[in-house]
């Protein structure tokens, strides 16, 4: 059971990470910065529980707010650049964040042991969950409550004007502006919101793995973050969840029986999905189930 709980945890924070990228993709921004916000959330909330002994809920919240603050700051220069240039610029941001934590040493003595981030040696023993008697089932439930809340919020977004506006900006910025939409507000809000979600995800990640170091936050993870919504499709929020289950559940854990060939298959399956489902695996708006039974238009 613990194993499945563990996988559910992984799926949980990867879903959050993917959703944070999903929110930005709705506005047409392919952001590789999500892993930077994820790292900020992880380190900030880890520092709060380990060094300051703060309650996990508060620590996650503060970590997410700090991450969203940086996302807000990144939002402004990101306005000026689009498409592939934004990809590169956000890679640069994530790498700068990673290198910052690579250089960050903040050790405090607690109960005779030094705790805290220790540069390349990593940040060990973020053991709030285990140390406070949380059963694996509690941790999983907690993570999934957060995931469901975020899923619900983003699902709700598609039913209110804000969601249509995000998608409108994503489809055609000029037409959106000409319809009276303030691009700056929309894009910076999406970036901030995405940063918040990624920040929570990072906090949950740090606490469930108990250890983070700069190597946890590489371009590879940034790629995963955008891969989920792209593979899943942007039509609705469940595509991302589906893609995370596909990658984390099936490709990484489910294919273990393939042994050495598992990782070869990984790149191959991404290629196949993109060739056969270029708009993502789930390419229907969730509020229109009738489309399920019609032919998919490529």
């Amino acid at each position: 059971m613990e194993y499945y709980f563990g996988i559910l945890q992984n799926i949980g924070f990867h879903t959050l990470l993917g959703l944070s990228a999903y929110l930005l993709l709705l506005t047409g921004q392919l952001s590789m910065a999500q892993v930077g916000f994820f790292a900020i959330g992880a380190y900030a909330s880890g520092i709060l529980t380990v060094i300051y002994g703060i309650n996990i809920f508060l620590a996650l919240g503060v970590g997410a707010i700090i991450a969203s603050f940086f996302a807000f700051l990144v939002g402004f220069p990101a306005l000026r650049i689009k498409g592939l240039m934004l990809v590169i610029a956000t890679i640069a941001f994530s790498e700068i964040v990673r290198l910052y934590f690579f250089n960050l040493r903040w050790l405090v003595e607690k109960d005779g042991v030094e705790v805290g981030p220790d540069g390349a040696q990593g940040f060990r023993e973020i053991r709030y969950f285990a140390a406070n008697g949380w059963e694996p089932s509690h941790i999983v439930s907690f993570i999934w409550i957060v995931v469901i809340l975020v899923l619900f919020a983003l699902w709700w977004l598609d039913r209110v004007k804000a969601g249509s506006v995000l998608r409108a900006v994503g489809e055609d910025e000029l037409a959106a502006q000409s319809s009276g939409i303030n691009l700056t507000v929309v894009k910076v809000s999406a970036m901030t919101g995405g940063g918040f979600i990624a920040g929570i995800a990072g906090g949950l990640y740090a606490h469930s793995t108990t250890y983070v170091d700069h190597n946890s936050f590489t371009i590879l993870l940034a790629t995963f973050a955008v891969a989920y919504p792209i593979l899943g499709g942007l039509k609705n929020v469940f595509g991302t969840l589906f893609a995370v289950i596909f990658i984390q559940g099936i490709l990484i854990e489910g294919l273990r029986f393939l042994g050495d060939y598992r990782n070869l298959l990984f790149g191959l399956l991404i290629i196949l999905v993109m060739n056969f489902y270029p708009k993502g695996l789930i390419n229907i708006p969730i509020f229109n189930w009738s489309k399920l039974f019609k032919r998919r238009d490529l």
């Binding site: 220069p77 240039m85 640069a92 060939y261 990984f266 191959l268 991404i270 708009k279």
Partner: protein, 297 residues
């Protein structure tokens, strides 16, 4: 570390020379972008992949080692065709995200195949013969022979590519495809043939770059791929995506900046400055050194 003016000059020289490799990879990114307005993320991986194939075949059939530098680029060209077929050919050309993801998939795949075949352990790579031995001194400043060779090679490639693009029919067609895709198609230009030839050209170039990179270290390892991908991308972007001389100049510049900050700020902070440089460029000069004002959406 204490250092003086000579050290700074020397580090800049070393860095700029080493930057030739970034320049060559950046050139490949830029070529493909110029033709299709798309990024081929698997580009550096196919370059390193080509170098591996060259090394593998040469070892397997006990060929003379210089053939590695011939087989490598050809293999990289072939791998590029494969990447084109699986990541670009069948995915609708308007679907930029699809191609980007598929090429990232190809990057993972190529990397894992290499790792699978070599167990991930570094392999000795033949060095560039007399060039590797050569080490010139100019006063107190030293110059590595093999890196000078790579740099000259890079400049020649730049010249050849500019010639191909601006003085031949193939180049005319390529530019037509990149500027007016639909119109070019209506004029009867075979778009896929043009795209494939761009991929092959870029692939061969990348294969050379991959072999040179491995030869300059003397060792080849799958660890090479990601740093070269990132630095090559940065070179292409700072140079202005689509600009050939831009990629070369930016590649050399990144090499220099990188080594300079390595000297003055140490290795832990080195890359921060390279990324900051990129960030500054993107914000203040989003079209890069020589990019023109086309929509890069």
């Amino acid at each position: 570390m204490s250092f003086g003016l000579i050290d700074i000059l020397q580090s800049l020289i070393d860095g700029i020379l080493f930057g030739s490799i970034y320049a060559l990879i950046g050139l490949g990114f830029t070529l493909i972008f110029g033709a299709m307005e798309k990024l081929n993320m698997a580009y550096a991986a196919s370059s390193i992949g080509g170098a591996y194939v060259g090394l593998g075949l040469a070892t397997l059939f006990s060929l003379p080692l210089f053939l590695v530098f011939l087989i490598g680029p050809i293999a990289a060209g072939l791998i590029s065709i494969l990447v084109y077929l699986v990541s670009f050919r069948l995915i609708p050309s308007t679907n930029h995200l699809g191609s980007l993801m598929a090429s990232i998939g190809a990057l993972f795949f190529i990397d894992e195949v290499i790792i699978h075949e070599t167990q991930g352990s570094p392999l000795t790579f033949p060095e560039l013969g007399i060039f590797a031995e050569a080490y010139f001194m100019l006063g107190d400043l030293g110059f590595r022979g093999d890196l000078i060779f790579i740099m000259i090679f890079g400049l020649i490639s730049m010249g050849v590519i500019i010639y191909l693009l601006y003085y031949t029919r193939l180049g005319l067609a390529t530019r037509a495809v990149s500027q007016q895709n639909v119109a070019a198609r209506l004029c009867g230009i075979p778009i896929h043939t043009i795209n494939i030839s761009t991929f092959v050209l870029a692939g061969i170039l990348g294969g050379f770059a991959g072999c040179m990179a491995a030869a300059s270290v003397g060792v080849i390892s799958p660890l090479l791929t990601i740093p070269i991908t990132i630095k090559g991308l940065i070179a292409a972007v700072i140079g202005g995506l689509g600009s050939i001389r831009g990629a070369i100049i930016a590649g050399l510049m990144i090499g220099g900046v990188e080594n300079f900050f390595l000297l003055v700020r140490g290795v832990n902070e080195r890359d921060i400055y390279v990324f900051l440089l990129l960030f500054v460029f993107l914000v203040l000069r989003p079209n890069g050194l020589f990019g023109n004002e086309i929509n890069r959406d």
